[in-house]
Structures are given as C-alpha cells and as structure tokens.
Amino acid sequence: MFKGGEKKFTLNDSGSPHVGQHGFLKYPTRLNFYDDAPLFDISIEEFETAAIDRLRILAEIESSAARNRTWEELKTVTNAQCVKYLPLNSNTAKNNDIESERRKDHLGHFILRLAFCRSEDLRRRFIKAETTLFKVRYEGDVFSEREQFLSSRDFNWVPVTKAEKQEHWNELLSSYYGSKIEAERKKAFESEKYYKVKWTRVPDLVEKRRVFLAGGWAFVPGREQSSIIYHEFEVHIEKALEMTARMLPRLDEDTRLMPILDNLSQGFLAGISSEWSNPAGENPDELKAEMIDDLSKKHFPMCMKTLHDNLMRDNHLKHFGRLQYGLFLKVLGLPIEEAIVFWRKSFSRMTDDKFNKEHKYNIRHSYGLEGKRANYPAKSCLQILTPGPSDHGCPYRHYSAENLQSALLSTYSQSGLTSADLPEIMAQVKAGHFHVACTRVFEITHSFRGVKKGEGIGGGESVTHPNQYAARSMELDKPQVEGDAMVIEA
C-alpha cells in the first residue's frame, strides 16, 4: 500500500525529503514488463515530456485501429512514431544513451498508468494500446535479446517432455501450423519445442483451435509462445492498473500533478495525435478528426455546437442529427477517412461490428460514395429552421427563452458574451429574426478579432448557412495565429 504512495512522491517531488537517491534501475533488455515503479527523482518537465511523448504513440495506435490499418501498416507507423518520440534501441546499437531511453520508456508508462487508471473505459483503452505497443516491440526485437528477456522472467510454463510429445504425436502434428509443404512442416514439427500452460492463459489460440488441449492444459508450440507472453502482459497491466486506481485517492497529492494527469487523460480521449500537435509537418489546412472538438469550441455556430456537445456527452446522435452534423463537417472540409475516424471515436460505446454495419455506409453515403452517389449539400439555416423542435434544429428558434439565454451564456461567455448582450439578442429572437440573432452572436463573440456591430460575417452579410459562419470564423482566426507566432519570434 505504501509503495504506491512512495512511487508518487519520488515521481513528483524532485527535492522531496522522504525519499533518498535510489540509484538508477538497470534495464538489461529493451522489453519491459514494468513490474517495478521507477524510484528516482525527476523534474516536472521530464515528467511531462515522458508522458506526452508516450501518449502520442498510444494515440497513434488507437487511431490506427479506428482507421482500419493492417497490422503491417500499424507496425510501420508505430515504429516511425517511436523513433521520433520514444527511441528504444537494442543492446547491440552503438548508442550510449540506451539507459536513458529505457528510463524514459519506463517512466512514461508509469505516469500514464496514473493518468489512465481512473475509469473502466480509460483502463481498457490504455491496456489495449500498451499491449499493441508491446507486441510491436516484441516482434521487432533482436532474437538473442528476446531470449534474454524471456529467460529473465518466469512465465510459469511447463516444458513438454519427449515422452509426452511422443504420446500426443499425431494430435500435435495435425494441429501444427507451418509450411504448406507437408515434408517441411513435419520436419519443423519434429524439432519444435512445446510448452504446457493452462488453456485459460492462451484464449486466443484456443478460440482459433491452434493448440492441442488435454485435461485443461494447452500444448503451445514454441512459435506461438508470444501469445502466452502477450496475454501475460495484458493481465499484468490490468491488475496493476486496478491496483493503482484503488491507491490513487489515498495519495497525498500536491497540486502540481493532478492537473497534468487530468490533461493527459483528456488528451487521450480527444485523441491528440502527433499531426495535430505540430501542424507544421503535413498540410496544415487539412482537417483531422482530432481537431473537430477544438474547432467546435472556437468556430461553430450554436446549432452545430449543440450537436457536437450532445454527441460528446451521449456518445450518440439521432439520425437527423447525424445527417445534419455530418454534412456540415463534410462541407467544412473533413475528408471521408477522417469523418469515419471521427464518428467511430464519437460512438465510443458501440462495438466495431455495429458501427461498420450500421453507420459506415451512411457516412460514406453522405459523402456521395454509396447509393446514388449524390453530392449532398450541407443543410442551410432555412432547412434547419423548418423541422419540428428537437436538439438538432436551430437553437434560436426552438429553445424556450430561458433555455436559450442560459445556453448562450454557458456557451459563449468565454468568447466575450455577457448578460448585458442578452436583451438585444432575445429581442431579435422574439421578433422571429433568428438569423439576425445568430449574426449578432457572431459579432459579439468575434469582437476581439475586430468584428464590429453590423459587419456580420463580412460586409454586413448575415448568417444564412452554418458553414458560412464556421468558415468566416476560421478565416478570422488565421492571420491571428501568424501574428502570435511573430510575436513569439520577436
């Protein structure tokens, strides 16, 4: 019980009197099962970089799954990311920084554990991403080093004796996968080493009938050994996370750490990916699924913002909501692959199966890739105004006066809307001039960009289309970004 607390102290209090110098851990191998917490002092900056760099990689792995990348693609992408943010070289590499690389890997893992242990959902996703990362590394590992790693741990498997192998010869042979050529397969089989484990430890092999079972023991051939290790890793991390989750509330926390951890877990939820955090790299104009959340806060008109918030809150939208919002995003410039990623992530409570069956088609349809392949335009204000009251109409029209006022305040108070502005907006709404009210909100919330009253969305034009609103808002934002950058440079 103390260990968790102690770990925490050593992690955050660089000058803490509680813990002395523990000395550096030795990392004999590249792979790490992360048994022991890092017990050394680090600065808060180091803490943050280690976490964010690892998070980048995990987020990339997650979005790979959402993008339907194959295992090979995923491996390439992940390895590329790893080289960039979290290099981890093998012992043979002529690199004297191996120790600090591994230290960073170790550290990053444990910090993210703290950040992601807090809810069932976060834990599940963290385990999945971490296990994938481990697999990628395991497969890419040098043979001798892998052997060294394997012998460094007790995986609790029983080697199958010669006699046992003889006894089950036929059964084992017929469930042995290998070369298509029968003779080669036989030869490989004869020299194959077998291990015995409880079948519950290799459920994936059992499900695919790739092992031989007798009396609850699975006979695992050496080449499928990795399956045992991956499962072991998964179970290990899962247990550790649950333990950390129980420990977390009891930590005597100073206020420096929690905000960072909060940010980290939110970053994972929103999916910070490397492209977005440094847009200089690729085409900065291209929209990514990860950017939508941020954009919605800054640039979307109220109708779309409401839809977005509902989607984030409920992980779901009704059909017409999906249609309206989906088309809006399309016209905003979200490419189809990103749209699928975005919706997949948003419907986080849905199984992959259900998503692929029920929603993928509709999304592709709205992009004109299925069915009659029409290029559907996004709904204009006029169209949004017409249907009956629901969460996906125009808020200015469909909300009651009180609701509208409180919604306006809660949505736009950060952008400069005050209760003093409300009477004016409400007067327009009462008179039925919903466009005017929306335009006025635009003017107020963009006044810090120099938009004056009566200017509307440029040249006195009022809002008639949600995309117009968003486009103008983003346009206004652009030069400003450059301006900021110049200030920093100067």
């Binding site: 069932e120 017929s174 079948w199 519950t200 499900e207 031989f212 079972l213 007798a214 009396g215 609850g216």
Partner: protein
C-alpha cells in the same frame, strides 16, 4: 404452482449446488435471481441470504419460472447502494444451451416447438460430444445436464476454474467448440479446416462416434436426403462437379431413393477415385465434413459467452409444457425420453394420492420424509443432491489444500 414451490421444489439441493458449502457464502448470497411473474413481469437483481429466504420469496411471488445469474461483486439487491462501477459479475458457472430450433433445417420428424423421442437423438448425440470434449480437453468434472422442459438441454459446469473464467476466456472456449456457423442460407456451414487438410485433433477423436450416429440417425431414422430436395442438399455439399453430375443422373430416375442408399452411392463414387489422389482426399474430407455438420452439437453461443446471462434454474416448470426441468445423466442420455418427464400436474396428483395413504399411517404431524421423495421427482432430486455433494467434497478438499499450503 404454489403447492409445487411450497412442498416439492428442492430449495435445499439448489442451495447446496450453487453454494459449494453448507454455510451460506457469497456464491449464494451475492447471486442474482430473476423472477418471471404472471403477466410478463420480469423482476431482476434479487438475492437471498439462505435457501429459506429464497423459498419464502418464491412462495410469496409465485413466479412462473425463475432464473439464475452470476455472482456479483456485492449483493444484487443492494445494487443501487453500490459504488458506481463497483457492481459487476465476478463468477458464474460455465453454461451451455443446446436448443432443438437450431436443428430445424436438418430434422424431418418435427419442427418448431415440437419434439419427439426421435429428434431427441440429435440432443443426445450433442450431449455425448460436448460431455467428452469438456471433460477430456478442458478437464472439467462438475457437469450438470438439465433438461430445459421442452426441446433443449442446459449444461452447468461448477468447477472452480470454470466459475472464474472471464468473458474473453468463455468466448475462446465457445470458439473452440463451435464448428457449425452461419444462418440457414448457406448450405455449407463448417469452418474447421483452416489451411490444413486433416481435421483438428479434437474433432478427429469424435469422428468415429459421430459416424455411427450419422448412419443411424441421419440416414436410417431421419432419412434426411430421402427426397428430391434432400438429395439436392447433399449434392450441394459435394465439392466435385463430376461426382455431383453422376449422382444427380443416378438419382433422377428414383426420386424417393432412401438416404442410406444415396450415401452408399456417394461412398462408391469416392472409392472409384484413385487411392491417394487429391480428388479422393478432397471427397473424403467433404464426407467427414458432412458427417460433422449433421451431428455436431449446435450451441447457442451467446448464452455461454457472457457471465451475466441468465439461465432458467433446474426444477423450474416449463410454462408451456408444464414439465419439470430435471437433471439428466449424460451416461444414460440415449434412453432419456422427454415425454416421460413428470409434469407439475402429475406430481401434485402423486402427492395427493400418497397423502391419503401416509395420513392413514402416521396421522397428524409433519411427514418424516420430504414431500418430493414421495413423488416421481425423487430420483431427479437425488441426482442433484449427489452432484452437489460431489462439488462440496471437491470444495472442501481444495479448501483444506489451501489451508495446508498457507502453513
């Protein structure tokens, strides 16, 4: 119904079976019970401290049936007071459900809800296969087979390891056992030979048994390929176009040719191929596939995959047939006739009849023996009792071993 619960239902035996020891443990009192009341009212998340408690509630509500769910991390009836996210299933017997409906495409005697002694043979074949597979491959011993009251059978596995399986492991186990897939549309529903020519060892070992069942049940009794349609179905399963044409020609003159003869025709075709040739190997494999497709157990996978699935408790009354869900001995499954299973009405009559005689002998006061032992329910309750005793013995052994180790 009420009399049945009050006087006949073996609450004590059910308790022992679920609880694994005499003193009530979390295996019983954190267990979910769900009641189906008259008028389709469904009452979930009930839990009880003892079998008397359960009996009291059952007699009070008089449900048409009740189901047994998993052991949760806290008492299901206190679910609302549990910490958010702190209430989840932790243990559960590994359960299987085989239902006659899955056999509808291949049985010819009855369909839908109907069942007769003849179609029971499908179930008994399935029981044989599953029972041996579970015992030999997975090493579980505490198996209880329960007739579902109409046209199916349930299996409850109470081994400690089986109880503790996670959903993922359950899914894997079901995947291992599931051979027949797909809906009614495709004619071929087998997925076993992935990249290999020979059958996986688990199937190889039971093929011999299935071949016997196949010739007796499918060919002789059910006569599955005995008409034009059936013949076509068989032809669709044969991968060799030449053989198909030859057989179709042969059979077109005699549309009512018996299945056994047709099967012999098919075998003759195989024999006419060169020994060791690819064609012959393919056809032999197809023949094995057909045998397995027609006789291998068809599982309702969803029941087994998730711990929180509810399954009707043994000794409940099937609402349509009135028959009791009695335990079945897998060794004598072939002789089991679902139509001889006592119905609730019959039991109550038996009770009334014996009542008269015992009253005469004993006069007033409680009868010395439990009421169920005076009816035809006796042997079934004893079966459950013995099964529970075995589990309890095993449990005690484990407990003692654990205590020894800790020293």
């Amino acid at each position: 119904m009420l009399t049945f619960y009050r006087r006949l239902y073996p609450f004590k035996a059910i308790f022992n079976w679920l609880n694994h020891e005499h003193a009530p443990s979390k295996l019983f009192n954190q267990r979910e019970f769900a009641f189906t009341l008259a008028g389709d009212v469904y009452l979930r998340y009930q839990s009880f401290n003892s079998h008397d408690d359960l009996k009291k509630q059952v007699c009070q509500l008089n449900p048409t049936r009740f189901e047994i769910g998993p052991v949760y991390s806290s008492k299901p009836r206190d679910k609302k007071t549990a910490r958010a996210g702190g209430f989840h299933p932790i243990m559960r017997e590994l359960v299987f459900d085989i239902d006659m409906t899955d056999y509808d495409p291949i049985r010819t005697c009855c369909s839908g809800a109907g069942i007769c002694k003849r179609c029971w043979a499908f179930i008994s074949a399935a029981v044989h296969v599953l029972d041996t597979a579970i015992r030999e491959q997975f090493g579980y011993e505490q198996l209880l087979w329960v007739y579902s009251g109409r046209r199916g059978i349930h299996l409850w596995i109470s081994d400690k390891e089986a109880m503790e399986l996670t959903d993922q492991q359950r899914k894997a186990l079901v995947g291992w056992l599931t051979v027949i897939q797909g809906g009614g549309k495709e004619s071929k529903k087998l997925s076993i030979r992935s990249g290999m020519r020979s059958l996986p060892p688990s199937l190889q070992s039971i093929l011999e048994h299935l071949a016997v069942v196949f010739s007796e049940l499918i060919l002789a009794d059910q006569n599955c390929f005995g008409d034009k349609e059936g013949g076509e179905t068989l032809l669709q399963l044969i991968p060799d176009a030449g053989v198909v044409v030859a057989l179709r020609k042969l059979w077109s003159d005699d549309p009512s040719r018996h299945s056994e003869d047709r099967w012999q025709d098919f075998k003759a075709q195989i024999r006419s191929c060169d020994k060791g040739s690819q064609q012959r190997l393919n056809l032999t494999a197809a023949m094995e596939d057909i045998i397995i497709q027609y006789t291998y157990p068809r599982l309702d996978a969803e029941v087994s995959k998730h711990r929180n699935h509810l399954l009707k408790a043994p000794f409940c009354v099937h609402p349509k047939t009135g028959r009791i869900c009695v335990p079945v001995n897998p060794k004598t499954i072939d002789d089991f006739d679902p139509e001889t299973v006592p119905t609730v009405g019959q039991l109550l009559r038996e009770l009334d009849e014996t009542q008269v005689t015992t009253e005469g002998e004993q006069g007033e006061g409680r009868p010395a023996v439990a009421d169920w032992s005076r009816t035809s329910l006796k042997s079934y309750v004893e079966m459950l009792d013995n099964h529970a005793k075995e589990i309890m013995g095993e449990f005690r052994k484990e407990k003692r071993a654990a205590a020894d180790e800790s020293w």
